[in-house]
Amino acid sequence: MPLESSFILKYKEGDLESFDLLIQSLGGLPFRSSHDPFLAWQMIPKLMNLFLVIDESLLSLKFINQNPEGPSILIRLALQKAAVRNFSYGKRGSLGATTFIASIIEAVDLYFEEAKGRSKKSAFRSFQKSVVVGFNLRKYLIKYDLSHDLENKPELSKLSKKMAQFKKNNEKIFAIGNISGFILKVKFSCGTKSTQKDQGNLDHLKVILEESKSMEEFLKKFLQP
């Protein structure tokens, strides 16, 4: 078993079937890196946030096993690879689907954490809510970012009220993920427009999230080519 990190237990204890589905979708652990990137990640802990889509050639097994965030990186990688293949994640013109998927990716870690302490179904319901709130929050911030010239005064009063509202709806959504990093990355990778195909992808994603009754069911639909 190449994956031997103790950090992985949290995920396995939360929902073993869903975790296995994600790892299987990677088709093994295809890390090609001939060097050890661990030092760079250790010195700049947020280095992973640089990428909207993690480049697997930058990963090594040692890095995954020794890093407390290793399992989370693997899950992200699995979701991102499927999202690139199925929903044009991170591609120009895919602003809608990419934003929705980013909210999924950020909420998945929380799901495994919550599934450990209560029923998988109730953790999944909480996951569904988190994705919707996270998506609306990101959508609002992207709109805010695009509609303000960086050198002009931001409408702070409106924004801070709106942020307080989001926080009231779902406190945890602010504690997870790198929202500001995402807003910057998505502009760079996807541009500011959403194509018709992207609208279709976004609608489809919303439907599969809403109709699924468990994480396993959702992942089967999300990961299938």
Partner: protein, 280 residues
């Protein structure tokens, strides 16, 4: 005291400024004055934003918003936030604040601000003959030096010997790291691994990394790719060269500011500030 409405930035509202202004009067006061003359305010809405959404400041350095809210306690604001913002403004006023086509100058501006706490804490230690370990900055770098297995005592004492030399070294190093991260993003999948390997090698040989490891160099790089574009116009390269030449040629921070023309920048700002006061 909880702030109900915006208040103009004043010396007495800046926590720690009374100490650092004695350590390096010209530099510390210039960093504050550049904001005061531009009517910067401590703003309750900006404070609220940082409380509900801390990352807000990561996704946009709105230089001209002139509202400060980060690290505010009651109606006082921390010196390091003010000095950092002050330096961005001095560099912006000297070399321009346009973003499009100027990724390198925008990155350099951030990198000039990041090691400021190192300069001031080393200067304070030099002046007092005592390392003030209990401040949040010092606690952070002591923790990071342990995490990275680097000798804090040896490196900080070296910085105490010549704080500006240490500042310069850290600026150049952190700028190089930012440029490498920018290159990794620019190269995308073409040779990301090669570039990451080069970054690892550089970090391995670094003496200063624990001075800035906490500063998440990823965010400025993302900001630049999202707002400045990937390619530099000629003026961008020219400005970076000029700024780095001035930095290299300076022996002290005061020297650096004088060579940048800070006195002239401040005199012009003061003039326009007092004429607007008269008009009011």
């Amino acid at each position: 005291m909880k702030l109900k409405r915006s208040i103009r930035l004043r010396d007495e509202k800046i926590l720690g400024h009374d100490v650092f202004v004695q350590v390096d009067p010209f530099v510390a006061q210039a960093l504050v004055d550049v904001l005061k003359f531009q009517k910067f305010k401590i703003d309750p809405q900006a404070i609220r934003m940082t409380k509900v959404f801390f990352a807000f400041y990561g996704f946009g350095y709105r230089i001209r918003s002139r509202k400060m809210g980060l690290e505010v306690n009651g109606d006082t604001i921390n010196w390091s936030t003010v000095y950092h913002e002050g330096l961005h403004n001095i560099i912006g006023l000297r070399f321009g604040t346009k973003l499009i086509g100027r990724p390198m100058m925008t990155l350099l501006n951030e990198c000039l601000g990041l090691p400021l706490p190192l300069y001031f804490m080393a200067s304070l230690a030099q002046a007092s003959g005592f390392i003030h370990r209990n401040t949040s900055f010092m606690q952070t770098i002591i923790r990071d030096s342990k995490r990275l297995g680097l000798p804090f005592e040896k490196n900080f004492r070296k910085a105490m010997g010549d704080p500006f030399k240490a500042y310069k070294g850290a600026v150049l190093e952190v700028f190089s790291v930012h440029k490498r991260l920018f290159d990794i993003l620019k190269a995308s999948k073409i040779d990301g691994e090669k570039k990451l390997r080069a970054l690892t090698k550089e970090l391995k040989g670094s003496e200063n990394v624990f001075f800035y490891s906490h500063s998440t160099p990823v965010v400025p790089v993302l900001f630049v790719t999202g707002n400045c574009g990937m390619n530099s116009i000629r003026a961008d390269i020219r400005a970076v060269h000029e700024c780095l030449e001035i930095l290299h040629a300076s022996k002290t921070f005061e020297d650096f500011f004088k060579n940048l023309g800070v006195s002239k920048i401040l005199a012009e700002l003061e003039k326009s500030d007092s004429s607007s006061k008269k008009a009011a």
